[in-house]
Amino acid sequence: MSVASEPQESPSGSTGARPGAVGFLTDVSLCIGCKACEVACKQWNQLPADGSVAGSGLTGFSYDNTGDLGATTWRHVAFVEQAPAPTGDLLAGLLGSAPTQMAWLMLSDVCKHCVNAPCLDACPTGAIIRTRFDTVVIQDDVCNGCGYCVPACPFGVPQLGEGDRGAHKCTLCYDRLVDGMEPACAKACPTDSIQFGPISELMPRAVERVTELQNRGVEQAHIYGDRAWGGTGGINGLNAFFVLTAPPETYNLPASPQRPSDQVLPAFLTTAAAALGLGLAAVAALRGR
């Protein structure tokens, strides 16, 4: 990973989450990669299995045969094997002198339920709404499958379903929340790597956790989803946020994504300026002598 700047400073933990917001704290340092979240999610939401069943088989991506999030995969556990440096250390390891410890990073990825959600911004039909839990949900009966939310999301979350051609993503188990239950994935997580709760409780917990990990020598520990990382630009924080122990890119997360719709006004202004210029050019060109 050719990434220069690494997070070292203590985390800010500041986001623009609204009062009463709930979300996920997903702590990679507790994840055992059991994928119970993936299965619980598919079971609760009655999502079909993906292409693996159609025979595409092994990905070879370590133990990740899911690949990424999609219309029918709303939790995805990423696996990254980090071998000790392949040159000097390996030699030493083979000669039996220096012990070499490798690392196996696992992260359960999910929709981030952004404070200012790009998918919601993009949606032209109002199918994507912000709920009273400050979560972001696609109303399937409104969605017309325009697909604009798909490239709008800087995290690659929503996707059009192959069969029904509507956009789908994690609902943070809205149907469970209204009944006072926690989302299926958090319920299933055996090590509390996925924690559900009010952001006002989860975020201080995450700050404490990062400080603790840094004190333990995990220098790269940081929050992904506050205004410093992940919840950057106009996104203003993620309600489903993470404690990471490696640069975000390791887990296929963009370090500092932007809220695409923040570009709308400036872009319309430059376009208007261009319109003015081109209009004047047309006047100049077409004026009668």
Binding site: S2, S52, P124, G233, Y251, A282
Partner: protein, 354 residues
């Protein structure tokens, strides 16, 4: 669309371990090796599903909007001999408009629900404002075409038709012009307001670029129509070609600026087939060659000049279409490249004031 379509599948068959050192050369390529530099090459973001329908709409949308604007301006400031130009512009605008909503609706995953677009107005969603803009503009384009048709007697000589012919077409044109400009340019803004590095990084210039291309293609389309028809004043064509040259110049400038702005992110549209199409199809034969043809045409006979003009118009139109094609297809490749997304996110951070 399928998670398992494996569009991201790296060409790992042939690649031996890239690790260094004599020992490393004997190592089989591991799973960890495949995750070096990105997450196994899996895209960070999902690409849009847009293809031919949308590319064609982007092209026609530019023409419908810009034709309307050119016609209206010509009506306002042009000499009376350019009425043919005005008429052609109005009709062409309408002709290009008609398939546009159909293309958009067909592109929807659930076309039957297209009307859901009209539930809300969302200023942050270029697709929402675009829908409304296109709807309003559609009214103007149709109205102006109607008035034109009435003036031309196409609607017959009845009282009602004559009444329509007396409607204030200049005022309608002035009112519709901003909407025409909007329709011609918002598609660039729409692409820019995504997470796709190729588009997002160039968001400020994509609108102007699409708009400039809309003008050049619209001028070419009108020129082509007028040239094909008999009896157009050479001066009219001359004025149109002047407009073409100005807008081509603007387009070239914007393309150069985009190239500079995108730097490495531009790779999907500077390399491979899209790169060739953009370089030779749009910039070469779509912009530079027409400029050259204009210069050559002055030195030739009127008839040859007119033919060269027509050729130039066709080339501009093809180039304009290719520009939309390359932009959309390049965007897909850009979305599929995790490193481009990483770089975009990292650069934006360092470039954004805290």
């Amino acid at each position: 669309m399928n998670t398992f379509a494996r569009r991201w599948e790296p060409d790992r068959r042939g690649r031996r371990a890239a690790a260094t050192g004599a020992l490393a050369a004997q190592r089989g390529r591991t799973s960890a090796d495949e995750a070096r530099g990105s997450y196994y090459g899996v895209p960070v973001i999902h690409r849009a599903h847009w293809h031919w329908l949308i590319i064609l709409y982007f092209f026609l949308g530019g023409i419908t909007g810009a034709c309307y604007v050119i016609a209206s301006i010509a009506h306002l400031v042009g000499p009376s001999e350019d009425r043919r130009l005005v008429r052609a512009g109005r009709y062409l605008s309408f002709v290009a408009l008609v398939p546009s909503p159909a293309l958009l609706i067909l592109d929807l995953g659930r076309p039957g629900r297209f009307y859901k677009m009209l539930r809300v107005v969302k200023l942050r969603s270029p697709m929402s404002v675009g829908t409304w803009g296109l709807t309003v503009f559609g009214g103007f384009s149709a109205l102006s075409a109607l008035v034109q048709a009435a003036e031309d007697g196409i609607l017959g000589r009845g009282l009602r038709a004559r009444a329509v012919g007396r409607w204030p077409s200049k005022i309608i044109g002035i009112a519709g012009m901003p909407w025409g400009l909007f329709v011609a340019g918002y598609t660039g803004v729409l692409l820019g307001a995504t997470a796709v590095p190729l588009w997002a990084k160039n968001a400020l210039l994509l609108g102007p670029l699409f708009l400039a291309s809309a003008f050049s293609t619209a001028a070419s389309a009108i020129g082509l129509a007028l040239s094909a028809a008999q009896g157009t004043e050479p001066a009219t064509l001359e004025r149109l070609e002047r407009l073409e040259r100005l807008t081509i110049g603007a387009e070239l400038g914007l393309l150069a600026a985009s190239r500079a702005r995108l730097s490495a992110t531009a790779a999907p549209v500077t390399t491979g087939t899209p790169g060739a199409l953009l370089r030779y199809g749009t910039v070469g034969s779509g912009l530079l060659v027409p400029l050259g043809l204009h210069a050559v045409a002055r030195l030739t006979s009127e008839k040859t000049g007119r033919r060269l003009g027509m050729l130039s118009s066709v080339l501009v139109l093809v180039g304009g279409f290719l520009l939309r094609y390359v932009t959309v297809v390049g965007g897909h490749a850009s979305a599929d490249d995790p490193r481009a997304t990483f770089d975009y996110a990292r650069q934006e951070q360092s470039g954004t004031p805290a």
